[in-house]
Subunit: 154 residues, 2 copies
């Protein structure tokens, strides 16, 4: 991109951050905000990931979801390996501006690296007797073969 | 609670964590997982917060949302000050088990401390020319007066 002027404003008072029109994200000690991606059609949560300032800037500028990998310490565009890109239909920011919600069109219909539509394919039973719980698989069909898509890159 | 046996299993291999039935959360360096709460009726994201092991354990045991405040360094039950509790209808955990999604019934209809239904009451315009962006208020009606509910407690 030729023009890289920042979309961000320095953080002001609590009232300015919560009630004002300026985008003033609160990046954490690692320079990140949390991002929740939901499916624009079903409304389901597809994944939760992180964005650093550059990922957030690129997502705003391009309408494609960019994230920052905490484990690999790298910026990545969703779908750059798998082809399963996310087109951002709407972006919201929360009251204290440390979390972002994006509603996306998920290419290939599957957001999770395991091949599932959503990363949240297991339910945690509630109110069970104390002790280890057993997760219940839900909507856990694999829409692609991760080995075929990612090869050995897990 | 009289019985406090842990619902958690030690983390195993990637395959066990991603494809297995054991709840083995990956708490970060601060001992936290991210939690996304959505409205069970509208599907909208209400808030994003964090849970430590105890908040997660209590939420599972009681079906009421408990969180851990990073700023106050305290465990809190959603609604303990405001009365706006969250009854958890379903809990999901993601592939690598470092994020939780809860679908909740929001008491009072408002999750945000500013009085709004959701914390995500401002949209970030996409694809705008570079430079500072102007947030757009959406669904930003205040359903309660935070001053009346919280008094001087921010």
């Amino acid at each position: 991109m030729s023009d890289e002027r920042s979309p961000f404003t320095p953080r002001g008072s609590t009232d300015e951050v919560e009630e004002g029109p300026a985008l003033a994200p609160k990046f954490d000690a690692d320079g990140l905000v949390v991002c929740v991606a939901t499916d624009t059609r079903s409304g389901d949560v597809l994944m939760v990931a992180h964005m650093n300032a550059e990922a957030l800037r690129r997502t705003i500028a391009t309408g494609q979801a960019w994230y920052f990998s905490r484990s690999r310490r790298t910026l990545w565009r969703k779908g750059e390996s798998s082809g399963h890109a996310q087109r951002v239909v709407e972006m919201r920011i929360d009251c204290d501006q440390d979390a972002v919600w994006i509603k996306v069109e998920q290419a290939g219909g599957a957001a999770c690296h395991t091949g599932r539509r959503s990363c949240f394919y297991r339910a945690v039973p509630l109110g069970a007797p104390a002790g280890a719980v057993t997760l219940e698989f839900r909507d856990a069909e694999k829409l692609f073969d991760p080995q075929a898509v990612y090869g050995n890159k897990s």
